[in-house]
């Protein structure tokens, strides 16, 4: 047989096996993430049930318990978000299943945020919650904004809860939130219910957080 043909066959085999390997790893990662998302969803439902119980049975709401729940939920969402963005940044082949997964992740994240807000209000907690709208396509300063938020998160841990939402994702709830808060550009932050369009620098963010609760280490 012609050597060029032979080489072509061998090369194509190795090439296709590589692409399949990538797809396999990708789908495995996606299903792994799906599982984590389901677990988070379950936890949110659990917290919701507890709320329902306290409300329906006119019991005194155990805020100590719920606050702990809130920080656990946000931590889970945080870790999941990190994995999702890591996967998003690495070279991958299967875009479609990833996009579906990301949509599910985003809606759970919003649910998570709502739950945390509910606990916060009911119990009169003063940790700062940030809804962060970013875009991977048309945002010059999202990278910087991400760094600023990561920094404060590292510093304040449970006192600073960030929910990062990809504003480009086509979900009704995302458009609704964007409309409701009047998000015009990226990055945009909703800090404790207050909207900040455009990049918010570290000092500004520190000030806002400290105004909310001045017992923090950074204030």
């Amino acid at each position: 047989m012609n050597i060029f043909l032979k080489v072509g066959i061998v090369t194509t085999l190795i090439f296709v096996s590589g692409l399949m390997f990538g797809m396999l790893i990708g789908s495995q990662k996606v299903s792994e993430l799906e599982l984590t998302i389901s677990r988070l969803d379950e936890n949110i439902q659990n917290a919701d049930l507890q709320f329902l119980f306290f409300n329906t049975m006119n019991q005194n709401i155990s805020c100590k318990f719920l606050s702990h729940e809130a920080s656990r939920l946000s931590e889970q969402a945080d870790n999941l978000g990190r994995e999702v963005s890591m996967y998003e940044n690495s070279k991958k082949i299967s875009e479609k299943s990833f996009y579906e997964m990301k949509k599910r992740y985003t809606s759970i994240l919003i649910k998570d945020w709502l739950m945390v807000e509910k606990i916060k209000r009911t119990c009169g907690e003063n940790y700062t919650t940030v809804l962060y709208f970013y875009s991977n396509n048309n945002c010059d300063r999202c990278q910087e904004q991400g760094i600023v938020l990561t920094y404060l998160k590292e510093k304040l841990k449970d006192e600073f809860l960030v929910f990062a939402i990809d504003g480009d994702i086509s979900l009704e709830i995302v458009s609704l939130l964007k409309d409701a808060y009047g998000i015009e550009e990226y990055p945009a932050l909703v800090i404790n219910g207050e909207v900040h369009n455009g990049f918010t620098d570290l000092d500004e963010l520190k000030e806002i957080t400290c105004n909310y609760n001045n017992n923090l280490t950074i204030c």
Binding site: V7, V10, T11, I14, K91, Q143, I147, Y151, E154, L202
Partner: protein, 416 residues
């Protein structure tokens, strides 16, 4: 998928294809690789050692003594001095007077090609060898080469070059590179794609070289030009795996860079000069396969370097942004770095694995073909250095070469 992913996949396919090509060729011809045609007779071979003011006395002496101690029965040695005379010229005179087998010829013209052409006038041998003064024959080298010339179509036969006594890191990396070159040179010769007849230790048919007009004195790499001219005139070039020659490689980076700029500029000049052979079926596998392949490889290396630079710059910009926002808060910096260090396998991981495996395996084959043992002790780290950095090094050489070519045509700046 976006354009950059697609171009990356095309690039990977091409890299896989060309490395697997040589590998399969190796396995097809495995048995006959080390076999040289048995010579029916031993014609007189003239060994030409071109010398000039840049050659050191002790090195010249060593080259001559390696030629004198060759076991080949019928030989003469011609020292061909080109350009201005130095002290070393007197040494050559002395050696020529002491030994009746050694002759000294002289031309005031500068350059190795001029020296070779001067020697051509005095050569008595039916065959002749070129031995650069910084190179040394292994004792039995010529016996392995002469048999090829039984075929009248053979114009030249190349040897297997090794780096002599590598001491610096630069030389040790080249040692591995030359091993790889032994592998590639033999395999290219099987499909008549050799387009260099290296200065250290190659053999030519005297009549053929005279017929095609001797060496080109205006070419940067006359050993490549003569190869192109031989092939263009329908002659063939073969390689003997058993004819070993040691050569002194540049010991410092800057010396290596200069050498490679000369080689690569020579490649550019000669491809331009013989462009009619490109994609020309009359030029055989060289025209339709090897030359296009070599040119595409240059593109691949430059493209890879561009990707590398881009990712390094992006990373640096990102890190600087972090630093400018956060300042030197070590605890936070460390935890951010930890976050980015997580390994995420993708299809690229697989291809990187396959290509590195082929790279390691090919070096192993090269060592086998060069009859070298994989010395784990002192050369070992340089296999790794070679595999990791060689392509970057070649990229640097090519970028410098392109810079030189532009400077040469626009500013009339010349290194040689």
């Amino acid at each position: 998928m976006d354009l950059s992913s697609i171009s990356l996949l095309v690039l990977i396919y091409f890299m896989l294809y060309s490395s697997i090509f040589w590998l399969l060729l190796y396995f097809e011809k495995k048995k006959s690789l080390s076999e040289d045609p048995k010579p029916k007779r031993f014609p007189l071979v003239s060994i030409v050692i071109p010398v000039y003011k840049g050659d050191k006395k002790e090195v010249i002496k060593k080259a001559i003594s390696s030629a004198l101690s060759l076991s080949y029965p019928k030989k003469e040695i011609i020292l061909s001095w080109n350009g201005p005379k130095t002290d070393a010229y007197k040494l050559c005179e002395k050696l020529a007077n002491e030994n009746k087998n050694v002759k000294l010829v002289y031309t005031p013209k500068k350059g190795k090609a001029a020296g070779m052409n001067e020697a051509l006038k005095h050569i008595k041998g039916e065959l002749f060898c070129c031995l650069d003064a910084d190179s040394f024959f292994h004792k039995d080298a010529l016996e392995h080469m002469v048999g090829y010339f039984e075929d009248p179509k053979i114009g030249a036969v190349t040897s297997s070059m090794k780096v002599f006594n590598p001491k610096t890191i630069v030389q040790k990396i080249q040692w591995v590179e030359y091993i790889f070159a032994i592998y590639l040179r033999k395999l290219s010769s099987l499909i008549d794609c050799l387009y260099v007849v290296p200065g250290p230790g190659s053999m030519y048919r005297t009549e053929t070289i005279k017929k095609i007009g001797g060496f080109d004195e205006n070419n940067l790499t006359e050993d490549m030009e003569i190869a192109f001219r031989l092939l263009d005139n329908g002659y063939k070039i073969k390689n003997s795996l058993n004819a070993f020659v040691d050569t002194i490689a540049p010991s410092k980076f800057i010396g290596l860079l200069k050498q490679r700029i000369r080689w690569y500029t020579g490649f550019y000049d000669n491809v331009k000069l013989y462009r009619h052979m490109l994609f020309n079926p009359k030029a055989g596998m060289l025209g339709i396969f090897m030359l296009p392949l070599s040119i595409v490889w240059v593109g691949i290396i430059l493209y890879s370097i561009a990707i590398l630079i881009k990712s390094v710059v992006t990373k640096a910009v990102f890190d600087l942004t972090i630093l400018s926002i956060i300042g030197l808060d070590l605890d936070v910096l460390i935890s951010i770095i930890k976050r980015t260090l997580v390994f995420q396998p993708t299809y690229l991981t697989w291809f990187a694995f396959v290509l590195s495996f082929i790279g390691i395996y090919v070096i192993y084959l090269g060592l086998k073909m060069s009859k070298e043992k994989a010395e784990v002790t002192h050369k070992y780290p340089h296999y790794i250095t070679y595999l990791l950095f060689y392509s970057i090094l070649v990229g640097v050489f090519w970028i410098s070469t392109l810079g030189y070519i532009v400077a040469r045509s626009k500013l009339k700046y010349r290194l040689w």
